[in-house]
Amino acid sequence: MRTIKHSCKDIQAKIELYLDGELDRFTRQNVDEVISECPFCKSEFDNQSSLKKILHVGLKRRECTDQLRKNIVSKIRGL
């Protein structure tokens, strides 16, 4: 098994950017390669990924009521 030389600190600083879709393809591939081999970076990746997932999936979304939508449209049409 080959070992990729890396600094865990550097990779871990990139994980949030990775998960937020803010990394270029090359850097993303580099993070992918490292987390497939380094348990520390993988663990940090999993933690960050879980948090993002929990927030995105778990937070109850609130929706605009039909009444509010109607009120807005009637105000606009009345202007």
Binding site: E16, L17, D20, G21, E22, S43, D46, N47, Q48, S50, L51, K52, K53, I54, L55, H56, G58, L59, K60, R61, R62, E63, C64, T65, L68, R69, N71, I72, V73, K75, I76, R77, L79
Partner: protein
């Protein structure tokens, strides 16, 4: 297409996302209704500044954010908010978490905040909460968030990082109970 048609076809479809943002900023249905209505009326007033086919959602979020800051936060309906920078500078993040534990339990007991995630999110200073809502809930890019909040991208990044550190600690038990790795 006249302005009214443009409004109804390009701006109004974002009402749900805008309401969700407003609700989580205020945690009050009536206030969220007022905020959304006001933001849409302002958007219509300035619709000549909007370029059809461009990022309507980000534009509306910026209007709502400004409405919230300029009108809503100044009103007496909200308790004084704590300045996030002051909070972070004075306390270590762990201390922030500890100080909110009781609040979180009380809120859950009273059922005033809804679910655990809402409670954790709502306990964050408003500037932290805002970046989480825009990034993790709405999926805006750092560049879009930077434009919506009118702050540098580096500030978006550091606020997200700090907010997530606080949330990570708060939601650890919840994550484990949901079967996520801690």
């Amino acid at each position: 297409m006249n302005e009214q048609e443009l409004f109804e076809s390009e701006l109004l479809p974002h009402a749900d996302a805008l309401y969700n943002f407003a609700f989580h900023l205020t945690y009050n249905e009536d206030d969220a209704n007022d905020l959304v209505q006001e933001a849409f009326l302002k958007a219509y007033k300035y619709i000549h500044n909007y370029q059809p086919g461009t990022n309507a959602k980000a534009w509306l979020f910026r209007i709502l954010k400004n409405t919230f800051i300029n009108d809503y936060r100044k009103s007496s309906r909200l308790p004084d908010t704590i300045d996030y920078q002051e909070l972070v500078d004075i306390h270590m993040e762990d201390e922030i978490v500890a100080s909110y534990q009781n609040d979180l339990r009380d809120d859950l007991f009273n059922g005033t905040m809804g679910d655990e995630i809402s409670a954790a999110l709502n306990s964050l200073p408003v500037d932290f909460k805002t970046v989480i809502l825009l990034c993790d809930i709405e999926g805006f890019s750092y560049e879009e968030i930077s434009k919506i909040l009118e702050i540098p991208i580096g500030t978006v990044r550091s606020r997200l990082h700090r907010a997530r550190n606080v949330l990570k600690n708060k939601l650890q038990a919840y994550a484990e109970s949901m079967g996520y790795k801690s």
